[in-house]
């Protein structure tokens, strides 16, 4: 039996062998299937949804062609200060992350036009700012400013600035503006000034003075002596004049202050209460509000003086007019519906219509210099700064303080400055700025308290 079983087993194996060989030559059961989203035959890689992190940037001290003593100090020290101001400007914008100073190394003048990209990429920097300082024979300074893409190993832009030694900070701001403009696509704004109301003293007896400073808080000085209260200063487009409201005696009235001469003049003659002034984009007119018989309307008057022209005619308070950058329209606030809301009208007063419908109250609208947005103060349980499109859409609140109000736009329409009052009885207020996307909120340093900032135009 055992013998027979073995033979039968051998026979079965012999029968099965061809079948196994047949299986080994079977073709694949199915062909690969195309993945969705791929074009046939050609590779295509989709990268979607980038990160919004600040861009790492390296700004080493600027070398000098020859160490020379200037009224602003030796040129080698100036090179370090210049890099410092540029670094602060770009960091304060919230859009850049400067490489730490201990990772920066000194560069030579020849290196300025031939950067060591390998080194700078090792610091994590994606872009690089290099430059140099040179004292000229006529007493001026030349500051060279170069921007490089560290990974593409290319020069992105370069600029040179000739300034008086006293204006060395302006050269730094101009360089920072060059970098900022090339990397963000936005207009420049670092070389600009801010006028605001400097406050000091107890809440019941505040001394309010007009003050002016660079946008970063440097070169601060007072324009008025504080004998009379000043409110709501606004820059003229020519940067030489400031229109504001002041109490001379006990009558509030609108004045224009000339920065060059230090003189001020009354804009609207008469004994009416006038307030909330603002220049037109061409500087030829001033919008303001005037209260007559319990009814406040918006008027327009030539900046040189003259007869006011009435633009609104509704019962209640119409105030806070602000021109669109092309001068064709005016945004303002009105309580004609029962609460403060934002309205838009044509420059001649026609086609008045409400654009704010988000709940709560809206005040102090300001049209962006780019024209794309209107900044405002939203009044709900707290005061917040927000932006919306000129048609009222895309509304977004940017800040979350206890009392944030009085927005003013940077010259490029990217940053908003405002003032924040702390909760409680002190009434202490400070100047703050925030990017229009809601990032990079920071306090602007002022020697005293500050309120009612007005950002001036870019300096030439």
């Amino acid at each position: 039996m055992r013998f027979a079983t073995l033979w039968m087993l051998a026979g079965l194996i012999g029968l099965a062998t061809p079948a196994i060989a047949q299986d080994a030559t079977m073709p694949p059961s199915s062909a690969p299937q195309a993945a969705p989203g791929q074009q046939s035959g050609r590779l295509r890689v989709d990268i979607t949804g980038g990160i919004g992190a600040p861009t790492p940037i390296a700004i080493p001290p600027m070398p000098t062609t020859a160490v020379t003593n200037t009224p602003a100090g030796p040129t080698d020290q100036l090179g370090q200060k210049l890099a410092g101001v540029i670094t602060d400007d770009l960091r304060n914008s919230g859009l850049f992350s400067p490489v730490a100073s201990n990772r920066l190394r000194a560069v030579t003048v020849p290196e300025v036009t031939a950067p060591a990209f390998d080194y700078w990429s090792s610091t994590g920097a994606q872009v690089l700012v290099e430059g140099y300082v040179r004292a000229n024979g006529d007493g001026s300074l030349t500051v060279g400013c170069y921007l490089y893409d560290v990974y593409a190993r290319t020069e992105l832009t370069r600029q040179g600035f000739v300034v008086r030694p006293a204006d060395w900070r302006r050269a730094a701001h101009k360089c920072a503006d060059t970098v900022y403009t090339r990397l963000t696509g936005e207009g420049p704004y670092f070389d600009s000034r801010v006028v605001y109301v400097s406050e000091t003293g107890p809440k019941a007896h505040r001394i309010k003075r007009l003050a002016i400073m660079d946008q970063d808080g440097a070169n601060h000085r007072f324009l008025t002596n504080g004998q009379s209260i000043v409110l709501t200063p606004r820059f003229a487009p020519n940067r030489q004049s400031i229109v504001y409201m002041s109490y001379v005696g006990k009558q509030p009235a609108i004045y224009i202050y000339d920065i060059g001469t230090g003189r001020q003049r009354l804009l609207v003659r008469g004994d009416r209460t006038t307030f909330a002034p603002r220049f037109s984009p061409d500087g030829r007119y001033v919008l303001f509000s005037m209260a007559i018989g319990g009814n406040t309307d918006i008027y327009r008057i030539p900046a040189a003086g003259g007869t006011p022209q009435k633009l609104t005619n509704s019962p209640g308070i119409d105030t806070g007019g602000s021109y669109s950058p092309d001068g064709s329209r005016i945004v303002f606030e009105s309580d004609r519906s029962g609460t403060q809301q934002i309205y838009v009208m044509n420059a001649d007063g026609s086609n008045q219509h409400r654009i704010s419908f988000g709940g709560g109250r809206y005040a102090t609208p300001v049209w962006s210099p780019k024209g794309d947005l209107i900044a405002f103060t939203h009044i709900g349980s707290t005061f917040q700064i927000g932006v919306m499109s000129p048609d009222g859409g895309n509304q977004k609140l940017l800040t979350d303080g206890w009392q944030d109000e009085g927005p003013t736009w940077s010259p490029n329409g990217r940053v908003i400055m405002f003032f924040r009052t702390t909760q409680g009885g002190s009434g202490k207020s400070d100047l703050w700025s925030v990017d229009k996307t809601g990032v990079a909120e920071r306090r602007i340093p002022t020697p005293l308290d500050g309120s009612d900032p007005a950002w001036g135009p870019l300096r030439p």
Binding site: Q22, P32, R42, T48, G52, A53, P54, L183, G438
Partner: protein
């Protein structure tokens, strides 16, 4: 065991012997059915692999290949006709460096020098051409790479030829998807929008054509096209290209890409940067 049982057992044994014999004979004569599919190469890879089909197989040994040598029929004359004619191209690298450069370029072509690796000289050395007209009128000069073993049949010597064709002549759709996933995972973290996040630039889609070297480094990155650019975001177009290019430059050289899928795969492709998550 009685007689009938013995008989039955004998018949059974005989039957099995016969069956075994028949099966053995059938195995000897059995030929497996011819394969209808060419053998395929299979590469085991967890990420991306060649398409498991249709490999290109060299059918002929290299020794039987007899490429023609000599100047092409339409070869330009070596003697410059005008001063504006381009200078003759330098000769291919010689095995030994020339002791000294010639003071002036030779006015006449030397075809044999342009084929220094030819193992056998042509039967008829090409005459030195005197000019374009003469060269064009002459019959086409031919040479051969044939070795002494030509037409001697297959030898025991190891072939010196190399099949330069890729083992898989086609990159499949699944491979493309896998490579795209590999590259996307490496580049995506470097796509930093910085200052442009939240602006109207988010509707700009940037397409960059990338050419890579085999080591994964970038040979070139050029703007192919941009979509979604309008009057309100035109100011950001250049910046969107800059930061898209920077993303792929920062995250290269790319790693882990299959070398077999370089040609026709990740050697040259488009990378599409869409800043908005919503496309």
């Amino acid at each position: 065991m009685d007689r009938s049982e013995k008989t039955g057992l004998g018949v059974a044994i005989a039957g099995h012997v016969v069956l075994f014999g028949l099966l053995s004979v059938s195995l000897l004569w059995h030929r497996p059915p011819p394969s209808t599919h060419a053998p395929m190469d299979v590469t085991l890879s967890t990420e991306a692999a060649m398409e498991a089909a249709a490999p290109h197989i060299t059918q002929n040994p290299a020794q039987s290949v007899a490429p023609e040598v000599g100047p092409p029929e339409e070869a330009a004359p070596a003697t410059p006709l005008t001063s504006a004619a381009p200078e003759p191209e330098p000769a291919p690298p010689q095995p030994k460096p020339a002791p000294a450069p010639k003071p002036a370029p030779a006015p006449k072509p030397k075809p044999e020098k342009q084929q220094p690796k030819a193992e056998a000289k042509p039967h008829a050395a090409p005459e030195k051409t005197q000019g374009h007209e003469k060269a064009a009128a002459k019959p086409r000069e031919r040479g051969s790479h044939l070795g002494p073993d030509f037409l001697k049949g297959i030898t025991a010597d190891k072939s010196t030829s190399r099949d330069q064709a890729p083992r898989a002549s086609k990159v499949g759709a699944r491979d493309i998807a896998n490579i795209a996933g590999l590259i996307k995972r490496q580049v995506q973290p470097c796509y930093v929008l910085g200052a442009l996040k939240g602006t109207s630039a988010m509707s700009i889609v940037t397409v960059i054509r990338l050419q890579f070297r085999r080591d994964g480094s970038i040979a070139s990155a050029t703007l192919s096209e941009q979509d979604g650019v309008n009057g309100s975001n035109q100011q950001y177009a250049k910046q969107m290209f800059d930061l898209s290019r920077r993303a792929v430059l920062r995250c290269s050289p790319l790693k882990g890409l299959p070398p077999d899928l370089y040609e026709g795969g990740w050697e040259d492709f488009d990378m599409v940067f869409t800043p908005s998550d919503f496309g």
